[in-house]
């Protein structure tokens, strides 16, 4: 009990760290790819709503697993529609709303020897992709499955790391550990010139749609609802646009 009280106290101190007024803490679990955009728009939302948004960025699948384990989260924003739909079916979140789209691209470090999709299949190319359970990894596999079987197999044989989230792939690329990787266009923009994007042909490009929902257990459902609206039309929608996301149709 004492320990739990201590933990609660430590958490409480964090809440009041800001302006000192009693703001409502809003916990947002968001896909790692939205890190830059959602961090940028949080202060404006905090001010307008007298709230304190606390984002937790990770692979959408890890965040979904945390919600299933009962984590106290108010908003879940994923890099696909599959995971939020499933959580909705399980009765854990309200009906999800589509709020943005992104593009899957082939990303290479500035000095990489890889300059095309075809070069990925050449022996010795080191590729980092997302693990099958994280959206970026499943989009990647979806794309590779559209290639001729031999080519897809050769590319998968060159995969050297299955990263738990998209920022892990970016890290492997910027550190030069991998020659190429599949990430979102927004990640390349956020890498400040350290990465180059090679677009995928239209017929290979997966449909990358982001969806968010209010977590059923949320104690601040109204505020969470307004945050989801913000993702679709407000300041966060503009921040997402600035980061390279497109609005959801």
């Amino acid at each position: 009990m004492l320990l739990l009280a201590g933990a609660a106290f430590a958490a409480g101190c964090g809440d009041d760290g800001g302006s000192g007024s009693r703001q409502t803490a809003l916990v947002v679990s968001a896909a790692a790819s939205m890190k830059e955009a959602l961090t940028a728009c949080a202060p404006r939302f905090d001010k307008a709503e007298d709230a304190a948004v606390r984002e937790s960025f990770a692979g959408s699948d890890e965040l979904a697993a945390q919600i299933r384990q009962g984590a106290e989260v108010d908003v879940y924003a994923a890099a696909n529609t599959k995971l939020p739909d499933r959580l909705h079916q399980e009765g854990l979140i309200e009906a999800p709303v589509r709020f943005a789209t992104n593009d899957l691209v082939l990303a290479v470090p500035e000095d990489s020897k890889i300059d095309s999709l075809a070069a990925l299949a050449s022996p010795g190319a080191k590729i980092a992709i997302g693990s099958p359970s994280v959206p970026v990894g499943s989009y990647t596999r979806e794309t590779l499955a559209k290639l001729p079987a031999g080519e897809a197999k050769a590319i998968l044989a060159n995969v050297r790391s299955n990263e738990p989230d998209v920022k892990g792939i970016v890290g492997k690329l910027t550190q030069g550990a991998a020659d190429a990787g599949f990430v979102y266009l927004t990640d390349v923009k956020a890498a400040n010139g350290k990465l180059e994007a090679i677009g995928l042909p239209d017929d290979l490009e997966p449909e990358v749609t982001y969806a968010a929902g209010v977590v059923g257990k949320s104690k601040h459902a109204d505020l969470a609802e307004r945050y989801v609206d913000e993702l679709r039309t407000g300041g966060c929608a503009r921040a997402l646009k600035a980061a390279g996301f497109a609005p959801a149709p």
Partner: protein, 268 residues
């Protein structure tokens, strides 16, 4: 017998809190996974690959740590020189480094763009995203545990034993292998066990430096993290194995210590 005083009650209450806090989470791992489930989840390819990889990499790492660390620790324990305290502190630093810092540090040093990355590459060694990289990461974080323990074990060896062997004509090297090591053995063994425990549990530095790929770099902790999102039950089962192995390591250390004490090996 008098009734326990308030102070004893307070001590008992604190012990109860500590015990509950530290054992309930570990017990919960077993409460949630039946023995049958545990076994079946260990039979799949990903778990087997992870267990085998963890076994191979920790064994390699321990061999390196023993071969290099034992003489190094002996030097620090047996000789005094200027700056020794600084050397010991530097060797112990990774003990208190967060795993993420260890990962970044390794990337900055021997990663492809690290300060020694070119030299590593020129030597024909590939570390990032390879099994060798896993060995480097776990050796970096676990070696200090052994060094520390080994230094203490060597320092506790009675100098007169070594002096006696020298007056009998044995060289220092011979005295080291024939006298010092056998006497320090229990201490060295517990050092290995501590390093082994840390190596088996390594997560952050491995993921950052070596990546995660089944059979190549995905050790048991990385496999647990990978499964947490898709298959919580099998993540629990794999965790149960790590708990069992770590528990066995801890118990063996206790037995070695006790055996040593019974045989009068323990320094005073």
């Amino acid at each position: 017998m008098s009734r326990p005083g308030w102070f004893t009650i307070l001590l008992g209450a604190c012990l109860t809190v500590a015990l509950a806090f530290l054992t309930v989470p570990v017990a919960a791992i077993f409460a949630n996974s039946s023995p049958g489930q545990l076994l079946s989840s260990l039979g799949d390819r990903q778990s087997l690959d992870a267990l085998w990889l963890s076994l191979r990499t920790t064994a390699t790492s321990m061999a390196i740590i023993l071969a290099v660390g034992t003489p190094a620790a002996y030097l620090l324990a047996a000789r005094s020189f200027r700056g020794k305290a600084l050397v010991v502190t530097l060797l112990e630093l990774p003990l208190v480094l967060p795993p993420a810092v260890a990962g970044i540090a390794l990337l900055a040093a021997v990663g492809p763009k690290g300060i020694l990355g070119g030299a590593v590459d020129a030597a024909g060694i590939e570390l990032s995203l390879t099994t060798a990289g896993v060995v480097v990461a776990i050796t970096f974080v676990s070696a200090p545990f052994y060094l520390r323990q080994a230094m203490a074990a060597f320092a506790a060896v009675d100098r007169s034993l070594l002096d006696a062997s020298r007056t009998l004509g044995a060289s220092e090297a011979r005295g080291f292998t024939r006298v010092v090591i056998p006497v320090a053995l229990p201490g060295l063994a517990s050092g290995v066990a501590l390093a082994l425990g840390r190596a088996l549990g390594e997560f952050g530095a491995t993921l950052m430096f070596a990546g995660s790929f089944q059979g190549i770099t995905q050790t048991v902790p990385l496999a647990i993290y990978d499964r947490f999102s898709t298959d919580f039950d099998s993540a629990l089962a794999l965790s149960a194995v790590l708990v069992a192995v770590s528990g066995a390591i801890l118990l063996s250390v206790k037995f070695v210590d006790r055996g040593a004490a019974l045989r009068g090996w323990q320094p005073e």
